[in-house]
Symmetry: C2
Subunit: 205 residues, 2 copies
């Protein structure tokens, strides 16, 4: 199937569908429908059918979706049937929690290197990994061909860290610093800032 230009908002829903399918699979459920998925996700069945139809024909009218098959197809579309190596920059409280988090590996991501600028932290170990100096970032990223970084440094340092990452070859940054990062064309950034989510809800309260 030739890849056409898919709206990013549709791409953004695929990981949520994938996560739901993985839960269904773990529950031993073998077939599902856009209605069933929609109920779990608070998304209309029509929206789910429309989103998935952008990528191909995954279900049959009346019989629904095969959970395992659809899951594999979405994993391939999102390119997470492989394992992406990820660096983590900034090993404060949050960075430490991310380094310990067990939920990355079975969803396509493995943290393979930790960096921090604090001399007191360099050389410390978290699990199998040793915290390295920022000086070594470029070398590690280049040698290992790493394209994905998680950035959990203070806001004041985040833009500079992002630029260092991209200069070394990083293409995708998950940014936890509460600041919007500017990245060049061809690089990708996603932001996680709990306060923006909280504020989006208090508007309605």
């Amino acid at each position: 199937m030739p890849i056409k230009q898919i709206p990013d908002i549709v791409v953004g829903r695929l990981p949520v569908y994938l996560r739901a399918l993985s839960y269904l699979a773990a529950e031993g459920i073998q077939t599902t429908s856009s209605h069933e998925l929609g109920k779990r996700l608070g998304i209309s069945a029509a929206q789910i059918r429309k989103d998935l139809s952008q990528f191909g024909e995954f279900g049959k009218q009346g019989t629904g979706y095969n959970v395992g098959y659809l899951r594999e197809q979405i994993r391939r579309i999102l390119k997470v049937e492989r394992e992406w190596h990820v660096i983590l920059v900034g090993v404060g409280d949050l960075g430490r929690a991310l380094a310990h988090y067990g939920g990355f590996v079975d969803r396509g991501f493995r943290i393979v290197a930790l960096f921090d600028s604090d001399p007191a932290k360099i050389g410390q170990r978290i699990g199998d990994l040793e915290i390295m100096s920022m000086d070594r970032l470029a070398e590690v990223v280049r040698e290992r061909g790493i394209q994905v970084a998680m950035v959990a440094v203070p806001a004041a340092h985040a833009q500079k860290v992002a630029e260092d990452c991209m200069a070394a070859g990083i293409k995708a940054i998950l940014n936890y610093a509460p600041i919007t990062l500017q990245v060049p064309e061809g690089a990708f950034v996603q932001h996680i800032d709990p306060v923006t989510h909280l504020q989006r809800m208090t508007y309605y309260l």
Copy 2:
């Protein structure tokens, strides 16, 4: 100004505008424009003007926006000119990082109570707060009239925890468990799952 129905996607951008305005204010910048904001945020100037115009007239053609005034107006629109009390449920690695995080208070949120189901953690202190048993959640939420919760428990427990929270009076949940929570009409949930963000980027790599 009468409040009309604003698309949620517009509401979702206001916290990002607010964050940028707060940085400008901290840098001592007193006026800005939709172009300047747009450049910082990777959003078109036209989009910013259109979003803000849904809530009123905040700038003058040619002179731009007064940073302090616009910031105060958005704080009021998002209802974060006040301080929201928040409970945190689940004090594992991530919960601990959230409890230590210093970035909530000056943006409208204060964690005032911690809960966990692990008897070994109950009674431990993080800063000024003591980790309490889940049994006490309903009483604390009701007595203190708390409406906002952060949930950082394992996926398998998250739906039950959310239901307990809502039964006690919580109206808005920031969910860190990697599962889509089902909440009734009139309640709000936002999800933070780093893997969905990572997968949204690997699609493009």
